[in-house]
Amino acid sequence: MLRRTFAAMGTDIELLLDAPGGPQATEALGAAEAEFHRLESLLSRFRPDSQLARLNRDGAIVAGCELLEVTELAVAARARSHGRFDPTIHDALCAAGYHTSFDELDPGDAPAEPAGPCGGTIAIDRELCSITLGPDVRIDLGGIAKGYAVDRAREILAPAGRSLVNAGGDIAATGEWIVGVETAGTPISLAIDGGALATTGRDRRCWTRGGRELHHLIDPSTGQPATSDLLRVTAFAPTAVEAEVLAKTRFLAGFDGALEEAASAAAPCVLVAEDGRCALAGGLA
């Protein structure tokens, strides 16, 4: 089993490849790592020279295919989730204090700035490869960009053998792998055969502003960090992008809402509530 770890996209990345060591495996691992760094340089909102930062600064861009594709995925997810997943949370995140990379975040005593509901136009022209934002609209592709990178790294590793990509909880695999999911008690082990898992919650990436604990999961309808009785959600889907979107929307639905939604969509997920309750939903058994 070959394992490579590195830091990218503000988190720890782990690549597992079930293949004999050799130049082909090393090359595949190197290419997967390079893909993470390449996509981060294009899609990070914290890098002033990234395409995303330029789009947010100028309001329009002739974009590369990756920014175009991830933005399209985010816009489609916004429509599919009826606005519960929304890339236009950028300003709300900044207002809450998450305006720089998480490692450099200064807690500070100043209270969070007020923010209104998210939303706004994101016009994508496939023919011209252009993205145009509405007035005062800026986008954050945080989670979905990470999911996209995980999916791309899986595609790169797949020809080299059974593999798994784990970007700080966003996982995509080829072949069967056993993945642990944290709960309030003993971790649950899930056997995934292909597909992807994503975990989102407010037990990490949280900070204090003006004595108030805040986190990165913004409710687009209010522009404020979401209030949910859930602590963490792990969702399963064919791709990491879909799993990431599902995890976020389930989190906003709350424990009971997420149970119902997962059951009706037959989308497996693990729900961990703030009070310690844990549920397997969406046909997961």
Binding site: A158, T199, G201
Partner: protein
């Protein structure tokens, strides 16, 4: 002694003549041709006209250059897009082949009691 009706008529005719004269004085048509002629002779006006015509020609030229560049850009963009699509299609062939053998297209998940090889947590 004239009658009252005759006096009123004379007064009205006088008033009408006065108004016609006033309108003619205000319009001063005898000056317009002179003014036009002098304006045409005014070198500043001539220079302005010339400059305006020059700017029109220049803007037309810029528009033509822009149209030409835009067309080139559109063509190169389409070429680039098709190259990217072709590269993607080529890259996806081995992945699709791999997927057929690794049940990659039909993912599944179930709870097991085996030790985890990795862990998913909030990122």
């Amino acid at each position: 002694m004239t009658s009252a009706a005759a006096r009123i008529s004379i007064a009205l005719v006088t008033l009408q003549l006065f108004l016609v004269l006033l309108v003619a004085v205000v319009a001063h048509p005898w000056q317009s041709t002179t003014a036009r002629a002098s304006a045409a002779r005014d070198p500043r006006i001539v220079a302005l006209h010339r400059r305006e015509a020059g700017l029109r020609r220049e803007s037309l030229h810029v528009r033509r250059v822009l149209d030409r560049r835009w067309a080139i850009y559109r063509r190169s963009l389409a070429k680039r897009q098709s190259a990217i699509d072709a590269a993607r299609r080529a890259a996806s062939v081995p992945i699709v082949r791999q997927a057929a053998t690794a049940s990659y297209s039909a993912p599944s998940v179930r709870v097991v009691t085996l030790p985890a090889q990795t862990i998913t947590r909030t990122s």
